[in-house]
């Protein structure tokens, strides 16, 4: 596959591994957070840890929109399907997220709720057109990569005069989450960030500049493939060694400083900032999420239906909050791998395959077990 396989080359990987070994100073530790869940997944799935110098550690960040989706928001989705008789269209990623009353969207579906997996918002719109007599609600999740497609869906629905389509909006913002991590009391022992790939395609590299300036942490935006991640870590090592803290772009083939202006404009047309939003594991963060503008109220499931949000606390034994902030590693959670597994996820980090705990369990737990 062109422009994919080349960035997975084992040969180039050993070259980059050698470059990192040469450049990483043996006198210090390097701690970098990869923000994006996709990067967490790539690191585990390719075993990139084996190719990094031993004094370079990757900390897994909260950039997994399924992981940070509060239980109460899934409850809302389930209630829409069960109580309001709506057809709930959702990406597959959310189907197994544990919600209240031992339910998941998948279990609710098995119990008769009309919940349908879609690959795209266009599929959700097709369902709405095909079932004019039913309400169709699209469960919108994701960071800035996935928000533009939802914007297009709302605008399309408006243009067509669709009367039975709405969105349950859970779109969240990357810079706000990065800020929450960096602004944690006591500071956070991080030397830099590997910035998200496709979020940056949309928002550009400019939004990360305040982090480099205000917190003095370098940010290198990395493409999605393993070689991209390795090269970005190499660039971070370089900045740390030089005492620099700027935003650099490894993913130049897809990311510019300004980003995708057309996509940004469409998002601005449809969405506005929420004052605050609850993130699972991170608490309530101001200006961190979106909702539909009043002009599009008829497409906002929260205004169209009565499904008030009820916050649900996480299991006390769950260490997801600390793990999402990079303070703990999955294996340091008391219930990791015993009570909490991908089959029976207790917390958000185990729910999605790119959550730190799920990624470690699925791809990497053989490393500790050797003890």
């Amino acid at each position: 596959m062109k422009y994919i396989d080349e960035f997975r080359s084992g040969e180039l990987a050993s070259g980059l591994a050698a470059a990192m070994r040469r450049d990483a100073s043996p006198e210090r530790e390097y701690r970098f957070m990869e923000f994006c869940g996709g990067h967490t997944h790539a690191i585990s799935r390719y075993g990139i840890e084996d190719l990094l110098p031993p004094n370079v550690r990757m900390i897994h960040g909260p950039g997994c929109p399924v992981c940070v989706l509060p239980i109460g928001r899934i409850d809302q989705a389930i209630r829409l399907a069960r109580e309001q008789g709506a057809i709930l269209a959702t990406y597959a990623d959310t189907l197994r997220v544990p919600a209240s009353h031992r339910l998941t969207l998948l279990r609710a579906k098995a119990q008769g709720a009309d919940i349908r997996m879609v690959y795209s918002t266009s599929d959700a719109l097709s369902i709405a057109r095909a079932h004019a007599d039913r309400e169709v609600v699209f469960l919108a999740i994701g960071f800035e990569t996935t928000t533009p497609p939802t914007a297009v869906a709302v605008l399309t629905a408006a243009a067509e005069g669709l009367r039975n389509f709405s969105v349950l909006c859970n779109h969240v913002l990357t810079p706000a989450a990065m800020h929450a991590i960096l602004a944690a009391p006591g500071g956070v022992p991080l030397d830099g960030f590997v910035g998200p790939a496709h979020v940056s395609t949309v928002i550009g590299s400019a939004p990360y500049e305040p982090f480099a300036e205000d917190y003095g942490k370098p940010v290198v935006i990395a493409g999605f493939e393993p070689l991209d991640v390795m090269r970005a870590v190499h660039m971070l090592i370089g900045q740390v060694n030089d005492g620099r803290a700027v935003v650099e772009n490894e993913f130049t083939r897809a990311v510019t400083r300004a980003g995708n202006l057309r996509a940004q404009a469409l998002v601005a047309e449809v969405f506005e900032l929420r004052e605050s939003f609850e993130w699972r594991g991170l608490g309530t963060i101001p200006a961190s999420a979106l909702r539909l503008r009043p002009e599009y109220a008829q497409f906002d499931a929260e205004r169209r239906f009565t499904v008030p949000y009820r916050a649900v606390a996480d299991n006390k034994a769950c260490a997801c909050g600390e793990i999402l902030r990079g303070e703990k590693r999955p294996q340091e959670c008391k219930i990791f791998g015993t009570v909490c597994t991908p089959e029976n996820p207790i917390g958000s980090c185990m729910v999605s395959s790119e959550g730190a705990c799920a990624a470690h369990y699925t791809f990497g737990r053989f490393r500790e077990a050797a003890a």
């Binding site: 997975r8 591994a17 390719y46 197994r96 690959y119 395959s353 053989f366």
Partner: protein, 346 residues
Amino acid sequence: MKANYARPLDVKHGQVDLSHGSGGRAMAQLIEELFAREFSNEFLAQGDDGARLADPRGRMVMATDAHVVSPLFFPGGDIGCLSVHGTINDVAVMGAVPLYLAASFILEEGYPLADLLRIVASMARASRAAGVPVVTGDTKVVERGKADGVFITTTGVGVLREGIDCSGARARPGDAVLLSGTIGEHGMAIMSLRENLAFDAPIVSDTAALHGLIGELLGAVPQLRTMRDPTRGGVATTLNEIARQSGVGMLIDEAAIRVTPPVEAACELLGLDPLYVANEGKLLVICPPEHADAALAAMRAHPLGLAANLIGYVQEDDRHFVQMQTRLGGRRIVDWLSSEQLPRIC
């Protein structure tokens, strides 16, 4: 044959109805004019509820499988030939020569007879090509909505070959792990038709009867430890099953596992891992390392094993992990599937 029925079965426009399962004349007609006509052999011709089989002269092996695939027709095959191949393979991987099949059908009221005929004709073709007759069967009809068109259960019996001892419990550290060909085709052929995930892709199911390939293999290397066909859950699941059964670990090489470009691309688009995608015509083989070359040569000489490859080795590991050297050079485990693999957007 004297016509016993007022009108022949309307296979062009007719549908399955509850009378076809009631045991009466309608059911007898369905069996005679559709099933028995297609399968046509000495056993069914006897017309009894069961089949008298020849003396097995050896240790018997039996296997059974229910088939509920949806959609019923897919590129490269259908539920009919799938059910024949699948059970033949289950018997053959035990090291037995498959001899006979039984087939029971659960039909949904309203299912078109024309499609049922297509399925049964396909089964009959597969059965004849494999040399394994369907000697007895059963039909039931359930109300509309209680079945997905057609469910088929096939049971196969065979006789263990002399001197062969194949089992999932026999893998030993140092053994070679071989794979007969490219992976992921059946699962992705099915995916390409599923609602909401449709796309045009030239991916064809690999459904096939493997007993011929297995015969060649056992002839060349009777010392084989294990054979298994990696169906649901893919190669990853089968390797983990064998590892657990044998109490060992494995180390496989990602670069040695062959995936055709369209399958790789389709998996990429959906966020699926080919290692977990179903196959229906592939063989995983575990054999003593000194016989690996002979085993590979035997497979590659057969049409169903042209792309056979050595993919790794069994190793000592009391945690029973299947480890993989990724194409990048790092390591990861290939874990059990936690539940059905769903497409990802993240």
